[in-house]
Amino acid sequence: MTPPQRRRRFPQEQPPQPHQPTGEGSQDGRPPKNPERLYIITGAAVEDGERAPIDLVTLIVASAELPPSASPEQSALLRICQAPLSVAEISAYLNLPFSVVTVLLTELLAAELVQARAPIVRQARADRSLLEAVMHGLQKL
């Protein structure tokens, strides 16, 4: 029996390239060429571009006491971030979409109520020492 054969959508495409350092900045002034362009609902008054570079695996930790003016969402977020927690985990525990958590965090970061510990591979391909550390950690599993 022969397996089905994959056909490439773009025959001349190049082999995988490293990540672009700019990450998600796909709207670099050119007209949209991709019909699958996406629009994330933020539902909050944070302008595009003001949003902090928050990744799913950015670690967040509360850095101040809860101010009386905090919203219920902010209070809950600060409460669960007494120990470091990834944005993905915050989203899961608060049962809020990632983009909504991002908006919340942008406000909290601006108010210096939380600290963000940025993912270290955001800017470029992971370096060898990082990969070796991950391998070493996996071997202990």
């Binding site: 397996p3 990540h19 699958e36 670690l59 927690l85 990969l131």
Partner: protein
């Protein structure tokens, strides 16, 4: 979405707290067709009970070629299961997989950006459901390895036959696994890490 102060928000259990020394998270994304075992794989290696994060998107005419230019938009919620492995006191690895609808993951801003790489999980009974995902990873330049989840009643193909069917260059590892087993899932991740390491070595000979 309503968020009431009366809603009980349960944070992580005490044993699920990361140490205060945790400095950075890295991520690996597990992709593949529906029912291929992505969530099982996340669960088999995660130190926490897998959690679910989600994203809400509006999309215009996704996959609907005759719908261009129309104003019709649909809100779609994409859910993503994930787990966690503490690597050191400072470094935490997160694994993301999703229960279905893989075409939407690539619309999730930032899911693949900054990821170490991806694992393409395959079921040889439905090889073709992975073709689109592989193409998209290639287009995005996300490095990946292929792991064949060996279901008992699935056809077994020699690796080179799979490689040819998937049209993959020979440097991309293809391994078999049983994602229900922790050691097997771990070995898949190790295969990915070794592959990434070889790429890094090739890029920076120093």
């Amino acid at each position: 979405m309503d968020f009431k102060s009366s809603d009980p928000v349960t944070g992580p259990r005490t044993e699920d707290h990361l140490p205060h020394t945790a400095q950075a998270g890295v991520k690996i994304v597990i992709v593949g067709g529906f029912g291929v075992g992505k969530t099982t794989m996340v669960g088999s290696v995660s130190e926490i009970r897998p959690l679910t994060t989600e994203e809400t998107m509006t999309q215009a005419g996704i996959g609907v070629d005759d719908n261009y230019g129309s104003d019709s938009k649909t809100a779609t919620t994409v859910a993503m299961d994930f787990g966690r492995i503490s690597i050191t006191d400072q470094l935490v690895l997160y694994l993301f997989g999703t229960p279905g609808q893989e075409r939407f993951w690539f619309l999730w801003n930032g899911l693949f950006e900054g990821a170490l790489g991806a694992v393409v999980l395959l079921d040889t009974r439905r090889l073709e459901v992975s073709f689109d995902v592989i193409g998209r990873l290639e287009e995005r330049g996300v490095p990946f390895v292929v792991a064949v989840n060996t279901f008992p009643d699935a056809p077994r193909y020699p690796v080179e036959e799979l490689r040819s069917a998937l049209d993959l260059p020979r440097e991309i590892p293809i391994v078999e696994c049983d994602v229900r087993r922790r050691a097997s899932s771990r070995d898949v991740l190790m295969t990915l890490l070794r592959f990434l390491h070889s790429l890094a070595r090739a890029k920076a000979p120093a």
